[in-house]
């Protein structure tokens, strides 16, 4: 079947029609997973809220399992597959490699997601996201995850194949665009993630079927986290690529330095996955050398990379705004930014929340000694709700506002809610992440159904602040769930009932590459970015203070102060 291309009249982007349908397919599958995971989130929150305690223990652990798997695996990876297809076929203006295989892989992912969800809701696979052995789920829980992973792995190779096609057919000159390079980084981390998952989930499946007698629990934890944590590192690479994309779409911003941004991504490729080890910092069988090399020395290179992106994205926006004349003082460029445009406001809240809440707490947790303060407490979900929900999910949601008219060719319904949504959802998640981390610092457990341990022989008296913070987690968690639910309704209504927009030109051949005319004469020097520098210094100060406070806290606990 011959490839056809659609030229979007609103964005000028050129879509291979197969790739376009696949992007829509993955975006919809992702949003449906988000819907299931979001409903489950309400169950989790309303149970951990001490004054409500909605669900009995067995149902709570089933709901928590579904919430973790649907959010941390299915929602984000479905959406990331759409990002990979967009960043290869659309941004490189070429046909998608092996579209039939891409469709088969996509359906395999859907089959796997349904199978795992069925296993969970049958009630005998309440092993939570981590599924630590010797807890055993039903065989189809593991098989579903394996099928999903195989489908995602094939799409990663299709992404690489599309890069080869684009280079062979000369649809771009020089290096691939920065956003595509970010997607390549996500793809590489995804391949490591999925390979790690295969290494551990295949024997676990055989164990659940009775073909293997036992699996060593520590060995399982080490290899499982190669999948469990790296899957969240795919997010980091993908949402940073989306930050750059939204800065380019909304402001026409160009990266401050392609070299610096690409080097930062290169550091992700080399070192980001090593952060998996911070889940094992309290495990006795692993030596300090392994822990410190992985989570400190090398992970800090990845942290450096995140700080570079955290500076170059707002820096690129500041340059673009100053070139438009917003030059007064340090922050006119930021004050005059389009705060009513949900793609921008979601992206900026994602960037700030990811850096200040997720980034700083992640580095603190990555230090072996400090990790003891909060290991296996609700601080950990506080941290990863800041990275995965505020960092990744909010960025993906912001991008979706751009995709509705461009990819789905529909006018967005309820635009007033779109303006409000990033603040309602984003800021309530800021508070949720903060109070979870606060409760975790006081020692509230990460997963236990009942923080009070009612009826236990050795009850523990929590300070009132712990109950207050868990109550606030409940209140703001419900606000986040309701606003997220309304976002899903808005997107579904827009896609199904929104006003149809012009399709655009359909072509049988891609538009040939047109290179910009060579510039002659004086080179325009990009403006300085003092506002971004001040923001970076504020971040650095917060980082140092928080790090110091935690060492101080640790020394007082150990009685060394």
């Amino acid at each position: 079947m011959a490839t056809t291309y659609r030229i979007c009249p609103r964005s000028g982007l050129q879509f291979d029609t197969d790739a376009e349908k696949l992007m829509r397919f993955h975006a919809v599958a992702g949003v449906l997973s988000l819907l299931v995971g979001g409903i489950m989130a309400l169950g989790v929150i309303l149970t951990r809220w001490p004054a409500v305690k909605l669900l009995p223990a067995d149902v709570f652990y089933m709901v928590l399992t579904a919430h973790g798997i649907d959010m941390l695996i299915f929602w984000i990876i479905f959406f990331e597959m759409a990002v990979l297809i967009f960043a290869s076929s659309t941004l490189l203006r070429c046909r998608l490699a092996m579209p039939k295989l891409a469709w088969a892989s996509s359906w395999l992912m859907v089959l796997g997601a349904i199978m795992t969800n069925v296993a969970i809701f049958q009630g005998e696979s309440s092993v939570m996201f981590t599924s630590y052995v010797p807890m055993q789920a039903k065989w189809h829980f593991y098989l579903g995850l394996i099928l999903f992973a195989v489908g995602a792995l094939l799409i990663c190779f299709i992404f690489l194949g599309t890069l080869v096609v684009a280079k062979a057919e000369k649809t771009y000159e020089g290096s691939i665009p920065l956003v595509t390079f970010g997607a390549l980084t996500a793809c590489i981390i995804a391949i490591f993630t999925i390979a790690g998952g295969a290494v551990i989930l295949i024997p676990t499946l055989l164990w659940s079927l009775g073909y293997i007698r036992e699996i060593d629990s520590l060995m399982y934890r080490v290899v499982w986290w190669a999948m469990g944590h790296s899957s969240q590192q795919i997010n980091v690479a993908a949402h940073v690529a989306i930050w750059y994309a939204i800065a380019a779409i909304v402001f026409g911003a160009k990266p401050m330095s392609e070299k610096v941004s690409r080097t930062a991504y290169f550091l992700y490729i080399l070192f980001l996955q090593l952060a998996c080890a911070h889940h094992l910092l309290s495990d006795p069988g692993l030596g300090s050398e392994w822990k410190v090399v992985n989570t400190s020395y090398f992970m800090y290179f990845a942290v450096l990379a995140s700080m570079i992106h955290g500076m170059t994205v707002p820096g690129a926006i500041e340059q673009a705004q100053r070139l438009k004349g917003y030059n007064k003082g340090l922050f006119e460029w930021l004050r005059k930014a389009p705060w009513g445009n949900p793609a921008f406001s979601a992206m900026f809240l994602s960037l700030i929340g990811f850096g200040f809440l997720g980034g700083i707490s992640g580095v603190m947790m990555g230090a072996e000694q400090l990790n003891m303060l909060i290991h296996n407490t609700i601080y950990v979900p506080g941290h990863f709700h800041a990275t995965v929900v505020i960092g990744t999910t909010l960025a993906f949601m912001g991008l979706t506002y751009f995709l509705v008219p461009v990819l789905f060719k529909r006018e967005l319904m309820f635009p007033g809610y779109a303006k409000l949504f990033p603040y309602l959802f984003g800021l309530s998640m800021y508070i949720v992440a903060l109070v979870m981390m606060g409760a975790g610092t006081l020692g509230v457990s990460r997963r236990h159904w009942d923080m009070a341990f009612a009826g236990a022989p050795m009850a523990y008296e929590w300070p009132g602040a712990a109950y207050l913070m868990m109550g606030l987690t409940g209140i703001f968690g419900v606000i986040a769930c309701v606003s997220g639910g309304l976002w899903i309704l808005q997107i579904v209504f827009s896609i199904l009932l929104g006003k149809k927009l012009e399709e655009g030109e359909l072509r049988s051949t891609p538009i040939p590459l047109t290179l910009p005319a060579p510039t002659t004469g004086s080179h325009v020097h990009p403006p300085a970015t003092p506002g971004t520098l001040v923001l970076a210094l504020v971040f650095l100060t917060a980082f140092i203070l928080y790090y110091f406070v935690n060492w101080k806290y640790l020394s007082s606990l150990w009685g060394l102060g």
Binding site: L160, L163, S175, I176, F181, L184, T185, I188, I189, I191, F192, A195, G196, V199, D216, L218, M219, V222, V223, A226, S230, R262, T263, F266, I269, L270, F271, Q273, L274, C276, A277, L280, G285, L286, G287, W290, V293, N294, F298
Partner: protein, 48 residues
């Protein structure tokens, strides 16, 4: 064309090669995290 390719800095040539990046991105965490970690666990004495 050959001259142009020769003028491309080495680092950029590395970053333009997705399969080299794939090799590095798989090998480094596999060696430092998985293999090293599994070897440490395998060397824990078995209790009798």
């Amino acid at each position: 064309m050959a001259d142009q390719e020769e003028n491309i800095p080495v680092m950029q040539r590395w970053l333009d090669n997705p399969f080299l990046l794939l090799f590095l991105g798989i090998t480094i965490p596999t060696v430092l995290y998985i293999l090293w970690g599994v070897m440490e666990i395998a060397n824990i004495p078995v209790a009798h």
